[in-house]
């Protein structure tokens, strides 16, 4: 960064005479926007895609924005509604890009802001929306704000971070990354004070008590929204503010600031969404939706974290209880909100992110099963977690697509990609997308040694066996099955916004539930056991209705007054539409 008077906005922020100057949206072309629809996210299927891992256009071994543009046709064909891109901002990459050095610049190996706008435009042309992560809580210590803050305590950035003469303040806040950090305070030898950080010591927390910082972050939000982005996944939202005598999580001031962000979205960018990442229990997460009487006035969406491990546990135990239990404990959410649910993503479920009692509970609930304990954190892909069992992969995917919430797919899981456990724990599930059986899995034409991590070459999961090209043209493949299920899901309003009613039933290995939205009534029956199972369901309320199986439009016997008997193969599932009786029949 050179202090020139005429700065190229594509180079991002720059420092002139102790002042950090940022580009503005009008420095760039802006993408076309989709019609303002305030509820699109309630019916959307999300697809998490790592720019680095999807497609490499310039043969430098790393995926890029332009590569993602080239593969949008595939994503449109698959039938996803919204892409979620983990952070692509300029970063020293000490925390997977969550350590942001410049909010106004794209990581050079991914491309430029202009490339990103081109991606947005191309996605919108296909009706696909794009959201990305925004880390609100902290920046990288190489961010110019922090560099200026430590250099000049009395200067304009002196108060951008949380500085202290002692490391004893806010002592009730837990240390989240207990494996690497001893304290939430680190001494800075330049400023000769301690700075506050809830995560890594190279990620100082921004000081939200400073109104200028709040304004700066609202500017960041406006910058990307002006360019046309459809929303943000707000990373680590519970920790924005600090207060003595509290655990510094979920403070009222944090909610106030989120309401402010939401107001900016509602007033200036209707139809864009805020998705909270708050790894807490559902009863606590609902606070991030805001006021129920207003239909929600904070985040539009929040991730439902505990559901994912419980799906795995329920199938392992061949018992619906873990799923029934967590859904029973999940409070109702405001009318204009939605849960985000997932089976796998680029992270693992961290047990550091919970209180002591919750951790004990998690251990007793999740880690007693020895097979789960071998994978604490579940840092693996869906297919390999399920031993590549096609029946289970389909069952899990069917659950993801039918339980309440908008599903988030993880790139590559639609073809059954596996992980490479020999890579570092995070890279193992971030290997290149497997497009073809050719060199570098068709991901890149770079010299194989230059690819950021080698594509999976496992005998079962490797790219020669598992790739898009091999699966796309055969209707029996996982890829085409997934595509079919996405298409079926789209036909039914119930999957998106329907009420959820757990039917219980005579067999604890079978999870049966109804989703209902107006006239659209959907019955989902899932056999969590590997053995065939019978189930008697009490459906008297729907007497006279006829279940119609959705994949083949197969008519099942009409529902009567007696319990409705179904039999399912091991790990089998049915999706039925309940067709209302017609008077003249």
């Amino acid at each position: 960064m050179t202090p020139t008077s005429q700065h190229d906005p594509a180079e991002g922020s720059h420092v002139t005479g102790g002042v950090v100057e940022h580009p503005v949206a009008t420095d760039f072309v802006q993408a076309r926007v989709l019609p303002a629809d305030r509820t699109w996210f309630q019916r959307a299927v999300f697809y998490e895609v790592l720019v680095r891992a999807f497609f490499d256009v310039n043969a430098d071994g790393s995926g890029d924005m332009k590569g993602l543009i080239r593969r949008l046709d595939y994503l449109e064909w698959l039938g996803v509604d919204c892409l979620w891109l983990p952070p692509f901002y300029d970063s020293p990459l000490r925390d997977g890009g969550y350590d942001i050095r410049d909010f106004y610049k794209v990581l050079p190996e991914f491309g430029t802001v202009d490339d990103f706008v081109e991606l947005l435009d191309a996605a919108h042309r296909r009706g696909i929306r794009v959201i990305t992560d925004l880390v609100m809580n902290h920046t990288s210590d190489s961010h110019p704000w922090f560099q200026e803050s430590r250099r000049d305590p009395a200067g304009p950035y002196g108060d951008y971070y949380v500085w202290s003469e002692t490391d004893q303040r806010y002592s009730d806040a837990r240390v989240i990354f207990v494996d690497t950090e001893e304290s939430n305070w680190t001494f800075d030898p330049v400023r000769r004070q301690f700075y506050w950080h809830r995560f890594f010591s190279h990620q100082p927390d921004l000081n939200y008590a400073n109104p200028t910082v709040q304004q700066e972050m609202l500017n960041v939000i406006r910058f990307w929204l002006d360019l046309g982005i459809d929303g943000f996944r707000l990373d680590a939202v519970p920790y924005l503010f600090e207060a003595e005598g509290t655990n510094c999580e979920n403070l009222p001031e944090t909610h106030e600031f989120l309401k402010q962000c939401r107001k900016v979205v509602d007033d200036e960018y209707p139809g864009r969404v805020l998705l909270a990442e708050a790894n807490q229990w559902p009863a606590d997460v609902v606070a991030y939706f805001g006021d129920t009487s207003l239909g929600g006035d904070e985040c539009h969406m929040a991730f439902h974290f505990p559901l994912m491990p419980r799906i795995f546990m329920a199938v392992r135990r061949e018992s619906r209880i873990p799923i029934s239990e967590i859904l029973d404990q999940t409070p109702a959410i405001p009318a204009n909100c939605q849960w985000g649910i997932f089976l796998r993503n680029h992270d693992e479920l961290t047990l550091e992110m919970v209180t002591d009692e919750e951790r004990d509970y998690m251990y007793s609930e999740y880690a007693k099963d020895p097979r789960m304990r071998a994978n604490v954190g579940i840092r693996r892909r869906l297919a390999s977690l399920l031993d590549n069992d096609r029946n289970q992969i389909e069952l899990f995917t069917a659950l993801l697509l039918s339980l309440p919430g908008s599903p988030v797919l993880y790139y590559g899981d639609e073809i059954g990609m596996g992980d490479n456990i020999w890579l570092g724990d995070r890279d193992g599930v971030r290997t290149p997308m497997q497009w073809t059986p050719d060199r570098n899995a068709g991901f890149s034409t770079a010299n194989p040694g230059r690819v950021y991590v080698p594509p999976n070459q496992d005998a079962v999961y490797g790219y020669q066996a598992v790739n898009v090209e091999a699966q796309r043209d055969s209707s029996a493949t996982l890829l085409n099955w997934t595509r079919t299920m996405l298409a079926i899901r789209r036909r039914h309003e119930s999957f998106a916004v329907g009420s959820f009613h757990d039917l219980g039933g005579s067999n604890p290995s079978v999870l049966a539930f109804l989703r209902e939205a107006g006239d659209d009534v959907v019955l989902c029956v899932n056999n969590l056991s590997r053995f065939p199972q019978p189930i008697e369901l009490n459906l008297q309320h729907w007497a006279g209705y006829q279940p119609v199986e959705m994949t083949g439009r197969v008519m099942f016997p009409r529902i009567g007054q007696l319990p409705y008997l179904l039999t399912l193969p091991g790990h089998g599932f049915y999706w039925f539409r309940l067709s209302a009786p017609e008077e003249d029949r």
Partner: protein, 453 residues
């Protein structure tokens, strides 16, 4: 009222006199509940000189839905057709409304529990799968839950009318009023007076549509283990030990609540009854004769010293426990089936209930192997599964009760053996192909005892 009850009764699942010859079946008490609804107590006289009382709510000219017409149609009298009204949704709802309003009709009293809310608007459906009762479930349908609406309820109508308070009603009432989290909360009852003695006619409790039966969960767990070639019981995903631990906590909590509410006393172990049951069983199952002496010794080893006794469940097994999304519930506090009311209400050691669950684990593990050639490997796995779950259950029980039931070795062994002897006689009469399960257990219990001596 002249209806062909004698022809109708034998087709009812809850009728207990199928092996006897009816001399007469006539109403001995008729209480009008509504213009078209009569509460009837039938007196049934048998050719063998015995008699029984049964409860029927008769609905006039109210045809039930087609599926139930065969079972519900009693007959005609003076041009009107009588039906078993529990199959009729509106009649069932009337009963619930009578309870909610605390109505009194002749000798029949409808008694709501203090503070209880009954789902009088909910859809009703009959469950006719029970052996001695008929239940009607009132659930809200599947519309989105209305905040503040009462939860689902189940009305259990006791078909056999016996003098005295029914223990199911009595214990659920005690547990409900004590706020126990491990019983379905009592919401109301139907009580009455028959021939100058109090009788229990029915009860309504909260209903958990989304509950799973402990028995089915245990079978799923054991099945999972058997499908693995070489994994141990603690290594398979279907391991039930955590649930067994929580079940132990729930049973101990119910025992504690019953002791607080209804008191405790001291009594010697019921060795005499155990011995009497043994001699009766030997007559049915001659193979038991060779174990009789050893069994008697095991009973006597329980001693004559008094032990604490209290009201207990009395017939506890995995089919009498439900896992709701929140917790474990104990249901059906009717006491030992086939016993007179006084015996069913008798205080006993909590170890009888503990033994009932331990026996049930053994049944769950071996029931899956019925009808197959013996397989040593599977039998070994079954044993491992039983041991793992019984010890988890006892650990959970001990953590709440403050004492470990396994420490009272001799008494617990006596109750387990007593239950196995009962099972041996029962299986010999009803399911001979299952007989090996209790017989094998008796052999194991007594060989173990022989080693211990």
């Amino acid at each position: 009222m002249r209806l062909p009850f004698a022809e109708w009764l034998p087709h009812q699942r809850w009728y207990g006199g199928r092996n006897r010859v009816i001399e007469a079946a006539e109403p001995i008490a008729v209480t009008p509940l509504r213009e078209d609804l009569d509460h009837v107590v039938l007196g049934v006289r048998y050719a063998d000189g015995g008699d029984e009382r049964y409860q029927v709510v008769v609905g006039w000219d109210r045809r039930p839905m087609e599926e139930f017409q065969a079972v519900a149609t009693i007959g005609s009298d003076e041009g009107h057709t009588a039906y078993d009204a529990l199959y009729d949704e509106s009649a069932a709802r009337s009963l619930l409304a009578l309870i909610a309003s605390g109505a009194e009709k002749g000798d029949v009293r409808f008694v709501p529990e203090p503070g209880a809310e009954l789902p009088v608007e909910a859809a009703a459906r009959v469950v006719d799968a029970e052996q001695s009762n008929t239940s009607v479930i009132f659930a809200g349908g599947f519309a989105p839950d209305v905040p503040g609406a009462p939860g689902a309820a189940i009305l259990k109508v006791f078909r056999r009318v016996l003098p005295g308070v029914n223990p199911d009603l009595e214990l659920n009432r005690a547990l409900g009023r004590a706020g126990s989290a491990h019983a379905a909360r009592l919401l109301g009852a139907i009580e009455g007076t028959l021939e100058d003695r109090p009788v229990s006619l029915g009860m309504v409790t909260a209903y958990f549509e989304n509950a799973a039966e402990g028995w089915a969960m245990a079978l799923a767990s054991a099945r999972d283990l058997y499908a693995e070639a070489d994994l141990r019981a603690d290594e398979v995903g279907g391991d039930l030990a955590d649930e067994s631990y929580r079940l132990g906590e729930a049973v101990a909590s119910v025992h504690h609540t019953l002791a607080e509410a209804l008191g405790t006393s001291m009594a010697p172990p019921p060795i005499g009854e155990m011995a009497a049951r043994l001699s009766a069983a030997v007559e049915t199952v001659p193979e038991l004769a060779r174990w009789a002496a050893a069994a008697q010794a095991t009973f006597e080893a329980a001693g004559t010293a008094e032990v604490p006794v209290q009201r207990i469940h009395g017939d506890l097994h995995l089919g009498q426990v439900l896992r709701t999304p929140e917790t474990w519930l104990l249901i059906d506090f009717e006491g030992e089936p086939g016993q007179p009311m006084a015996a069913r209400r008798r205080s006993d050691s909590v170890l009888r209930d503990v033994a009932g669950i331990l026996r049930s684990y053994e049944y769950a593990a071996f029931q899956l192997l019925v009808g197959e050639p013996p397989d040593e490997q599977l039998a070994y796995r079954a044993r491992e599964w039983i041991d793992r779950n019984t010890s988890a259950f006892c650990d959970g029980y001990a953590s709440t009760a403050g004492f470990d039931p396994r420490e009272q070795t001799a008494l617990l062994a006596a109750y387990e053996l007593d239950k196995a002897v009962y099972e041996a006689a029962y299986e010999a009469r009803h399911r001979p192909s299952w007989s090996w399960i209790p017989l094998q257990s008796i052999a194991r219990l007594l060989q173990g005892a022989a080693r211990a001596h």
